[in-house]
Every structure is written in structure tokens, then in C-alpha cells.
């Protein structure tokens, strides 16, 4: 902005008036930054002062029936009417966003609940996509037959990755999973006889609907509702898992590995189930992705994709289902709607990340643990969600 280098004419242009603007701008920004930080500190102090448990607006929304039933009803109406009101383009990006919702929820099991930083999540996504493409190419298997196969293959690869990294934690685990993701991508790129290399596989059939031929638009709407159903299914399953015996074991593992083991939790098995269950969703979504785009190649499964899914989980709120859904919708839909600013997309993305981490490190919606109500202090613990 200040210096302009012209390599052809070998001239360096100095734009001094711009320098002043940048200086003044960053000066003012630094004050805004300080002010916000101070306000944040004040806020946290206030929280600790009052012994009352502060109930955030998001928590209120979920606990008060009068609030969440109309919200859910409104959402349902919107979801059902959406494809009939908006264009094919809108339906298509919404379907993509829903795929990321499910991917985010899957990764949320591994990263958010079990606390295992996985940077190679996209590998399982690739496994699912290639499972459908190759099984269809070689054996003519249909979408519905491969969907469970993709999920199972995802789980299998999850366990495969899980075994060597059982002893690793934190940074080391992140590096190994990153490597795993790259290995899968490189295999797909270079093993031409198996995966057709960088040119990928084309003409993958869309999901069938009782053998009917669907027009492109109906196929899109069908895909959309299919994704809505799968997203709801995922939400239900993940919600049940996180409040179950297994879910508690995952969280305990995240919080303190040594104490978790001392409480009788099998560390090995808990880690492997987390990897397997997380990868299951990625495998399933891979199949959907292949069917939606009808063409796949290794370029769709780069590290950037893993980073994107991880950002969804971190930005949305680790361990929180609503947070992850919101995070996915924001991170996938906003770039689509803000195409006018597409040049600045990565800058905005980075800035949003930094601001989030400083002011709200727990994510958009932080994970709220389930509360149990007990009648008085009697021994009969009558649990109510």
C-alpha cells in the first residue's frame, strides 16, 4: 500500500500520503483493541464477583421451552420451504454447507469431546468419496449401497490411524495426523492404476430415487433434503453420544488423561472409538460429496480442507453442537454471499480468527454441560435433562 515496486521499469514508488493513512488507522485500531480488551477483563471480573451462575443468552434459549419451541418451529418451516423459494445455486451451496455441518460434528467428536487434535480429518472424507467413485466404477454399486460402506471404511481408517497415535498427545498427535492426511492424498494422486491420479474420476451417478430419472433441479432438491435428514440424524446421534457413558469417557480423557485412567476408563479403547466414530461421519459425507459433485479428484482433499473443518469446530465452539452448526453455516455460506470481497477473503478469515481467539476463545457458543435436577436433597435422584 505504501511501497509500490515496479520490476519492469525498476522503479520503487513511495506513496507517503498512504503511509499517513495506515499510521493513523492502526493507531486508532490499537485503541479500539485496548478498549475491547479492557471491557472483556471487566466482564470476567464481574462474573467472578457475583456468586450467581451467569446464564448466557444461548443457554437461556435452550432451557426455556417458550423460547426454543417457536425457534425450532420457525427453523423447520424455513428449512422445508427453502428449496422452493430460492434458486438452484442457493440450494447447492446450502447442501454444501450442510455437508460441512456433518463434517464439523464428526470432527467435534475427536477434537471437541475427546480432545485429540486431528489435522488429517479430510483423509477420511477422501476415503468415503473414493469408495463410492471406485466401487461404482468397477462394480456398478449404487449410492445407497455404498453409503454404509463408506461410513464403515471411514471408521476402519479411523482405527488404522488411531493405533499408531495412541501414545501421542497434543502437538505430536497433530503432526502425525497431518502426515496421515497428506499420505492419503498423495496415494490418491500418484497411484494412477488405483485412483486415476490427478485427473480424478468423473460421471459419478447422483443418488437414485426409487429408480426414477430426476431432472437436475429436482436432483438438487432431493440432495438437499437428503442432507437435511442426515444432518438431523447426526445431531441426534452426537447429542446422545455426548451425554452417554462413552461421551463422559471422552470428555474425561480430554480433561485429564491420568485421572481418567485411574477412574477405570480404558484409554486405548476410548481413543479408538473417538477416532472411529469421528471418521465414520467423514466417510459418509465423502460418499455424499462424490454423488453431489459427480466428479472427484485429489485436489478436493488438501490440508486446507482439514483446516477449514477444524476452524468450523474451533470457531463454533468445541464440544458444542449448536456452535458447530453455526460455525459451519457461517464459514461456508459467508464466503459465497460475500463474493464481491473475494479478494480479501483470506484476510478477513484470518482477522476473524484472531479476533475470535482473543475475545471469545471458547467459540461462538461454548459447550454447556448437561444439568441434572434433584428433588430436594432426597436420595432418589430423579434426573431430568
Amino acid at each position: 500500500m505504501v511501497i509500490r515496486v515496479n520490476p519492469i521499469e525498476k522503479i520503487i514508488q513511495w506513496r507517503w500520503d498512504n503511509l499517513i493513512m495506515v499510521g493513523v488507522g492502526s493507531f486508532i485500531l490499537s485503541f479500539v483493541w485496548r478498549y475491547l480488551l479492557e471491557r472483556k477483563e471487566l466482564g470476567t471480573n464481574k462474573d467472578t464477583d457475583s456468586s450467581e451462575i451467569s446464564v448466557s443468552w444461548s443457554q437461556k434459549l435452550f432451557e426455556d421451552r417458550r423460547l426454543y419451541i417457536p425457534t425450532l418451529a420457525g427453523l423447520a418451516v424455513f428449512v422445508v420451504l427453502f428449496p422452493f423459494v430460492f434458486s438452484v445455486y442457493q440450494i447447492s451451496i446450502m447442501t454444501t454447507a450442510l455437508i460441512y455441518v456433518v463434517l464439523g460434528l464428526g470432527l467435534n467428536i475427536v477434537v471437541g469431546l475427546a480432545g485429540l487434535l486431528d489435522l488429517g480429518y479430510v483423509a477420511f472424507y477422501a476415503v468415503g468419496a473414493y469408495a463410492y467413485a471406485l466401487l461404482n466404477y468397477h462394480f456398478g454399486l449404487g449410492f445407497w449401497a455404498v453409503l454404509p460402506v463408506g461410513a464403515a471404511l471411514g471408521a476402519l481408517f479411523g482405527i488404522l490411524l488411531g493405533f499408531p497415535v495412541l501414545r501421542l498427545r497434543g502437538d505430536y498427535l497433530a503432526i502425525v495426523t497431518l502426515g496421515f492426511g497428506e499420505i492419503i492424498r498423495l496415494i490418491l494422486e500418484n497411484w494412477n492404476e488405483f485412483s486415476f491420479g490427478p485427473s480424478g474420476i468423473a460421471n459419478i451417478p447422483r443418488p437414485g430415487f426409487f429408480g426414477l430419472e430426476l431432472s437436475l433441479e429436482t436432483a438438487n432438491i432431493y440432495m438437499y433434503f437428503l442432507m437435511i435428514a442426515l444432518a438431523l440424524f447426526t445431531i441426534a446421534v452426537v447429542n446422545r453420544l455426548q451425554n452417554s457413558r462413552i461421551g463422559r469417557a471422552w470428555i474425561a480423557l480430554r480433561e485429564d488423561e491420568i485421572a481418567c485412567q485411574a477412574m477405570g476408563i480404558d484409554k486405548t479403547r476410548t481413543k479408538l472409538t473417538a477416532f472411529a466414530l469421528g471418521a465414520t461421519w467423514a466417510g459418509m459425507m465423502g460418499v455424499i460429496f462424490a454423488a453431489k459433485t459427480t466428479f472427484i479428484n485429489p485436489a478436493s482433499f488438501t490440508f486446507l480442507e482439514s483446516a477449514m473443518i477444524l476452524s468450523i469446530v474451533v470457531l463454533g465452539g468445541m464440544g458444542s453442537i449448536t456452535g458447530v452448526i453455526l460455525g459451519a453455516l457461517l464459514l461456508i455460506l459467508l464466503p459465497e454471499y460475500l463474493r464481491a470481497f473475494s479478494d480479501y477473503r483470506m484476510i478477513l478469515f484470518g482477522a476473524a480468527m484472531v479476533v475470535m481467539m482473543v475475545f471469545r476463545p471458547q467459540g461462538i457458543i461454548s459447550n454447556v454441560r448437561r444439568r441434572y435436577q434433584f428433588k430436594g436433597s432426597s436420595q432418589s435422584g430423579d434426573a431430568q435433562p
Binding site: 457413558r245 454441560r369 441434572y372 435422584g381
Partner: protein, 290 residues
């Protein structure tokens, strides 16, 4: 003059006889934890040196010794955190056979019935108090992934049981007003008590407490002593504790083991230990004789 409870006049000495019966009863009962010649080397450092120890059912045993004597290493060995270099750790859970537990994983040992707390509190900070205790029930429950997803009647019943038992444990240690509070927000003394509740929730026959009174004020310590005595009385737990607070150790324990430099230097009742010259030497040095 009497020999073996029968005095020379041919009469039974009632006092001696009752003591003898008591002795035979104790002989019949195997110690629930028996440690034989336990040795632990860290490279060239011998942290535990041929340590022998036994605990009978219902006892409160204290393990004391100066800093670095190897007390926590001993705990870590018998709970499976470390694998001992040599020696045997034998347990005889009530109603079960004696088994050797060297080298088993910590979670297996907890499953067999030995639960521990930690010197530096190791709770699950962002989980609620109830959930912390519910994690303790993990090894006594069976529900798997399928059960969690479909939530059939048996899973529901099991969950309800876990909640009930966990709540009972929380009431037991007097934390029922904190049930839904995150563990990290609890006051220090309450966190220590929560660790005990969590250990109790695993259905142990032996509870190992690693410095339960560390950092507590006198009032909290007194409450802790009451809690430990009462869980021994009502639930019948056997307790092995490491502690530096001598007042607590002397008032609470039935027997005391004293360690120094990885070796056992004395064992006996609180009175015997109080007057044992070797113990005094280990704690205060040689000047005591000067």
C-alpha cells in the same frame, strides 16, 4: 505363671484366650493387599527398595516419611501407573481369590477394586461435580456405542443407576449443593472431597488417598478426618493414606508404615511409631541424641 493361656493351676485365663482367638481370626483372613519385596528403579536411582507391606480389611493405614522417601512412587506402583522392577503386589478382594497385579494397566486395577486420589488434585475441571463422580462409575457400567445411540430400556436404567449412586456419593461427602457446578469452581477443600467421592464411586475395597489434607486449613482437616472415619464405619472401606499432617495421621490410623529412602524403616501403632528412635532420626536427624 501361665503358658499359652493355661495357667499352671489348670484354669483358663480368659483374657489370654480371647486374645488368642482374635489372633487366629486375623490369621484366617488374608490381608487384602500384600506387597512383597517391591523394588522400583528409575535408571540408577532406587526409589523403592524391597518394600514389604500388608493391609487388612477395614484398617486405616498411614504411610509416612520425609519428602522424597518414595511414598507416591509406591502408590503409583500399586495402582499401575508404574511397572515395578521387582517384587509382588498381591490383592485379595473380599470374596475373591488372591491375585498378582504387577504390570496391570491402571484402569484394570481400578476395575479390580483399588481407587486412588491424587496429591495434586486431578479432577475433570470443566465437567460438573455430578459428571465427575459419574465418570467413576464408568468401569461398573456396560453401555456401549449402540446402547448410547438407541438408548434402550437397559441403557436408560443403567444411566439412572449411575446418576443415583453418584448423587448418593456426592451427598455422602457433603457436596450436594454443588451438584451442577463445574469442578474447577469448587473451593479447594471441596475439590479434595470430590476426589474422594469419585474414588468411592468406583466400588473399591481399598481407597488410596495421596495427601488428602495437603493445603487444607485446620477446620477442613477436621472435617476430612470425620469423613474418612465415617466412610470406614458405614461403607466399610479400607483406607491407605499418605499424609504429612502428623496430628491427622496419629488420630486416624490403626497402623503406620514409615519410609525413608525407599525403605521401610518402621511399622506399628501410632504410639509405637511416636517413640521409635529410627523414625525420630529420619525426621529430625541425629541431633536428638546429642
Amino acid at each position: 505363671m501361665s503358658v499359652g493361656g493355661i495357667n499352671l493351676k489348670g484354669h483358663l485365663n480368659p483374657e489370654m484366650l480371647s486374645r488368642r482367638q482374635e489372633l487366629t481370626i486375623i490369621d484366617d483372613m488374608k490381608p487384602i493387599l500384600e506387597v512383597k519385596k517391591l523394588t522400583m528403579d528409575f535408571g540408577g536411582l532406587r526409589a523403592l527398595d524391597h518394600l514389604d507391606l500388608d493391609i487388612n480389611k477395614g484398617e486405616i493405614i498411614a504411610l509416612i516419611g520425609p519428602n522424597g522417601a518414595g511414598k507416591t512412587t509406591f502408590f503409583n506402583c500399586i495402582t499401575g501407573m508404574y511397572i515395578p522392577t521387582r517384587g509382588d503386589i498381591l490383592i485379595s478382594p473380599p470374596g475373591k481369590q488372591t491375585q498378582r497385579i504387577n504390570g496391570l494397566k491402571p484402569n484394570k486395577i481400578t476395575e479390580k477394586g483399588m481407587a486412588r486420589t491424587f496429591q495434586n488434585i486431578r479432577l475433570f475441571p470443566t465437567m460438573t461435580v455430578l459428571e465427575n463422580v459419574m465418570v467413576g462409575r464408568h468401569c461398573r457400567a456396560r453401555a456401549g456405542i449402540i446402547g448410547a445411540i438407541f438408548k434402550g430400556p437397559s441403557t436408560r436404567l443403567e444411566e439412572q443407576n449411575i446418576v443415583d449412586i453418584s448423587y448418593h456419593m456426592i451427598e455422602r461427602v457433603g457436596l450436594s449443593s454443588f451438584v451442577n457446578e463445574q469442578a474447577k469452581n469448587l473451593p479447594y477443600g471441596a475439590q479434595r472431597r470430590l476426589e474422594i467421592a469419585r474414588a468411592m464411586a468406583t466400588d473399591p475395597f481399598l481407597i488410596l488417598l495421596d495427601e488428602p489434607a495437603a493445603g487444607m486449613n485446620p477446620l477442613e482437616t477436621r472435617e476430612l478426618v470425620e469423613l474418612i472415619t465415617s466412610i470406614r464405619e458405614t461403607e466399610g472401606f479400607t483406607i491407605l493414606l499418605i499424609e504429612h499432617d502428623m496430628k491427622l495421621v496419629m488420630s486416624l490410623s490403626d497402623r503406620i508404615f514409615v519410609m525413608d529412602y525407599g525403605r521401610k524403616i518402621a511399622q506399628g501403632t501410632p504410639e509405637e511409631i511416636r517413640n521409635n528412635p529410627q523414625v525420630i532420626k529420619a525426621y529430625l536427624g541425629d541431633e536428638i541424641y546429642a
